[in-house]
């Protein structure tokens, strides 16, 4: 049951036929695990909080608040509020300015890999950080627990933004297109085959473009996550698991969807998984 304050805060999205009271309740019941509070994770968290997500677990080691991070997130750690880390700065802003009802938990990123009990009730897990070549341990844990509705991978690779929304193997047995890690492999192959003069080194130098790419990715990821959460409560949106996989290049403005194929040798769902 929404309070008067919540009705006012979320009135414009409740009015949307695809959202309504049921969709808003789905958002408020959701628990998002977010790995990474950097230039993608921070603005993504702000969008999710503002939309009314109920619970957000932020996993990251302590990183200092830097000017580049402040530019990407739009947040400030002033001398009056010298936050010990960017995740602490982010958590304070989420509760104070974006969603006073939000339940925010700060957890060291090592815990995400070790403590399976933390994953008892996540709606969606988001990796907004550099991705390793092999699937993070947490994906195997989630798969074994058959928890989690979708997995979101948002990162910058080969100088391009990568967004991948998909399912983990236990959710995708009967579906075409493979699991979220198959999708990432497809994206990486497509990225390597795609000619571009926009190298990683250039991206790091052009930090403003880095911020722009990250911000665009964060916004797109937030839209996909909200759509995924609302879909089950709405008859106006497609249900089932999303299969978004795309590359985005801020320098050229090019956005390219990547077709996802099941990989027999996938490290998560394939023979070696």
């Amino acid at each position: 049951m929404l309070t008067d304050h919540q009705m006012r805060r979320y009135s414009r999205q409740i009015l949307l036929p695809e959202v309504g009271g049921r969709g808003q309740s789905s958002l408020m019941d959701a628990h998002i695990i977010l790995q990474g509070c950097g230039s993608i994770g921070a603005p993504l968290a702000l969008h999710l909080a503002a939309a009314g997500i109920g619970r957000l677990s932020l996993f990251e080691k302590d990183h200092p608040v830097t000017p580049a991070w402040q530019r990407a997130s739009g947040l400030e750690a002033t001398s009056e509020h010298p936050f010990p880390s960017r995740r602490a700065c982010l958590a304070e802003a989420l509760g104070r300015h974006f969603n006073p009802d939000l339940d925010v938990t700060l957890v060291d990123s090592d815990t995400l890999s070790k403590d399976g009990t933390l994953f008892s009730s996540p709606s969606i897990v988001v990796f907004a950080d550099a991705l390793p070549d092999s699937p993070p341990h947490v994906l195997r844990v989630l798969n074994a627990q058959k928890a989690c509705k979708a997995v979101v991978l948002a990162t910058v690779e080969q100088g391009k933004g990568v967004l991948n929304v998909g399912s983990i193997p236990h959710n995708s047995v009967d579906e075409e297109g493979g699991c979220v890690w198959c999708a990432l492999s497809s994206i990486r192959r497509a990225s390597h085959h795609h000619e571009s003069s926009f190298s990683v080194t250039q991206l790091n130098t052009l930090s403003l473009l880095d911020s722009i790419t990250s911000g665009i990715l964060a916004t797109m990821a937030a839209g996909e996550i909200l759509r995924c959460l609302i879909a089950d409560a709405s008859r106006s949106l497609p249900t089932g698991h999303l299969t978004t996989a795309l590359l985005f290049d801020a320098l050229t403005g090019e956005e390219r969807a990547v077709s996802v194929e099941t990989a027999a040798d996938c490290l998560l769902c394939g023979d070696r998984g």
Binding site: L2, M7, R8, S11, R12, I14, L15, P17, G20, G21, R22, R235
Partner: protein, 77 residues
């Protein structure tokens, strides 16, 4: 007995937000009696209800305000 809601103290967009949430909570085929002001609410609330597929009877004057009866379709989920 039909459910009732009074939105005469509210202004846009809260007028229709409250009506919409009340309609969603009704069982299929049930009706909601809405007490609303003339002017913008009287113009927009019935139109928005129709847009969302609800049945709406003509509003009737009720003192300084109006009474409107909206019905959820019998086949609504």
């Amino acid at each position: 007995m039909d459910s009732e809601i009074d939105i005469t103290a509210d202004s846009c967009p809260m007028t229709f937000v409250k009506v919409k949430l009340a309609m969603e909570s009704l069982p299929a085929g049930a009706s909601l009696v809405i007490r609303l002001n003339g002017g913008e609410p009287l113009k927009n609330v019935p139109a928005s209800l129709r847009d969302e597929g609800y049945g709406v009877e003509p509003a009737v004057k009720d003192g300084e305000a109006y009474r409107l009866v909206a019905t959820k379709p019998a086949d609504a989920e």
